[in-house]
Symmetry: C2
Subunit: 403 residues, 2 copies
């Protein structure tokens, strides 16, 4: 008996909803040495504390247990260091038992979606949306509802209108500080109001906060979670220590944290005891961390300013841009009708990459927009990237204007 399946490899229905990441695909393209990339959300490689990591790695490996399996929730020392950090951010005690270490904050987001979202459940996301959240919620089969952002972050009047209209989302996802991709930060009064809405309507807010410590003024915004208990906070060491440690974390209501931990058992058993030990040492070294973060912020602010000035000089009124006060991203909106999907092809030919707005679109199209990461490139490379982008734009304006 030979069935008709013999040559086919059927995939799950879920796979129809799983978009590849345009950004991750673009990263492969932009690995070309002739392309200056504003596309990836990569911290500056030269700013990552390699020497400090090497010293911590050497120390960690003196202990035999550093190469063995670890607890699913993460290395105890790391959870302790993260609990101290989160306690400081929230202004109330967070215990090590309330912290779950994950493989970057992306894993926290994916496991959280699997733990609380059933296919068809409503989930609120920001528009434009963090691509990694969009992928996760699509894979979970969520019914997505978009709430727009303005210069002060998520438009809570729009959110409250949805809630008053009867929507009961399982999750409301927000990148509260230095938004990816939009570059804006949720205003203090909105943070309190969002936590209040969560209490009032029995929602769960996901405060996705990988960039909070990259506040240019050295004062990380007070988290939404400082204002209420119905908030799951996601953090990451990728933007402040190194992506290759694969250390993110999740804190929040105990039943949710426990469910995510149970899912992690079958997702990948545990993280790396070795990289957890490195992260624990660096995060617990207060004076070193403070100085390191100061350098990151200072350099980030300088790059944001240089990028902004170069864009203003090259594009003038043809581009309206966000004014980032931290983080890694600047959002450009081209006002002359240029389609940024078309522009990307020309930009790659000119040796520069960015992410077109369409990648972050969940409500209306974003063909006028572009996300640029100002953190990756320094000095002359950053200016050259803007110069190439402007040249590509001028060429597109001449030849490629959409009808």
């Amino acid at each position: 008996m030979t069935t008709s399946h013999t040559d086919a490899f059927p995939l799950s229905r879920r796979m129809r909803d799983v978009r590849g990441s345009a950004i991750r695909d673009l990263l492969t393209l932009t690995a070309r040495p002739d392309v200056l990339s504003l596309a990836g959300g990569l911290p500056a490689t030269e700013a990552l504390p390699r020497d400090r990591i090497a010293a911590a790695a050497e120390r960690a490996l003196r202990r035999p247990a550093a190469v063995q399996y670890g607890e699913t929730a993460g290395l105890a020392d790391l959870r302790e260091a993260l609990a101290v950090h989160e306690s400081g951010r929230l202004g109330r005690p967070v215990g090590a038992a309330d912290v779950l270490v994950t493989s970057g904050s992306q894993q926290a987001l994916d496991l959280l979606a699997r733990a609380v979202v059933d296919p068809g459940d409503a989930v609120v996301v920001e528009d434009p949306v963090y691509v990694g959240a969009l992928q996760v919620f699509q894979a979970a089969g969520a019914d997505l509802h978009a709430v727009p952002l303005d210069a002060d972050g998520m438009d809570l009047d729009a959110l409250e209108a949805l809630l008053r209209g009867g929507l009961r989302p399982r999750l409301v996802h927000t990148v509260s500080s230095f938004h990816n991709p939009r570059g804006v930060t949720l205003a203090p009064d909105r943070r309190a109001r969002l936590a209040g809405l969560a209490d009032r309507y029995g929602l769960l807010v996901v405060e996705d906060d990988p960039y909070g410590l990259l506040a240019f003024d050295g004062v990380p915004p007070r988290p939404v979670a400082a204002h209420g208990d119905r908030v799951v906070r996601l953090g990451s060491a990728s933007k402040i220590l190194a992506p290759a440690l694969r250390v993110g974390w999740l804190t929040g209501p105990a039943p949710v944290v426990a469910a995510v931990e149970r899912l992690r058992q079958c997702a990948d058993l545990c993280g790396s005891t070795f990289t957890h030990a490195i992260a624990a040492e660096l995060l617990a070294d207060g004076p070193w961390l403070a100085a390191h973060l100061h350098r990151l912020r200072t350099e980030g602010a300088a790059r944001a300013a240089a990028f902004g000035a170069a864009v203003d000089a090259a594009f003038g009124a043809a581009v309206v841009r966000s004014r980032p006060t931290g983080g890694m991203f600047c959002w450009l909106e081209v006002t002359d009708g240029t389609d940024t999907d078309v522009l990307l092809d020309r930009a790659l030919a000119a040796g520069v990459a960015f992410v077109p707005g369409s990648a972050f679109s969940v409500g209306r199209p974003r063909t006028e927009a572009a996300r640029c990461c100002f953190a990756t490139l320094g000095g002359s490379a950053l200016r050259e990237a803007v110069s190439r982008l402007a040249a590509a734009w001028r060429a597109a304006a001449t030849h490629g204007r959409p009808a």
Copy 2:
């Protein structure tokens, strides 16, 4: 408006099907220094090549890219080394593009289940089953069908009877070599027959093979995947290099590998470039690897023999045990009616841990069975563990015999 949800944190329906791992939970208990553990599937900590890892770590960190984000499919050097390894195992060329690196083989299994199994789909597992597979397929909502094992591995007559009866599983999962927990190995003729059944019925076999290189005779069994194309192979560096590298891998039909890679983008973006670089160096160093594996196998064989002899001496005819020819596990069946769930409590009190058969049960109960890992403890500790187990058994036989 205050809803009744205010104090509740509803979880997804999936969470009802996600069992915690009895083994992972037990690991927390057995972290007590007074407990000698035969429970975890932990390689011998002192046999993990910490010095070699430290040297590779130091070298890896000379390159700035080692701490940056990496490609979702894994570091190119590592995929190349794994492709060479898999080519050797399969006896035909496997390209680096056909290898996807995952966070241990457990992540490969989880992502594979998400990529091909819809809720309600039939999946065939072995009985007794690898706990991590059971958790993954339960979380995927699979309709599980158990096929028994005998001394030559999966009973293919039983599998074929299911297929002839009309069952069309999405996946057939097997730990083909040195089975966890059963300690048996799929016989060569059954390997060819299983691949043939996959072709004939359009199945996809998951050959879960973390232990193949731990063959005591130095000759890893020829993989099922050497006999056909409808096989996804999972491998792991955890048992041969170190669990903390979090390096596993998956090879198989291109559409399946591509789907798993797409899912990994949203699961956790990528693995650690740093630990990938370490694993790549060690796996590519042929002479060192050969000598290291020789030491692992020699020590493993000695521990298996010591464990077996101690069990035979202490239990005599009251225990029938598997005769492992590689890997890490020995399966005990107590013939005097002792309930191993009851025995575990007494064993913990006596300072020794094992995993009761009930943890691996998918068809019939396994209350007569116990999985013991002979790899973790050495010399006198291993003998002392068996001595404590025998004392607990004698106490249970006197006081705790089930009615």
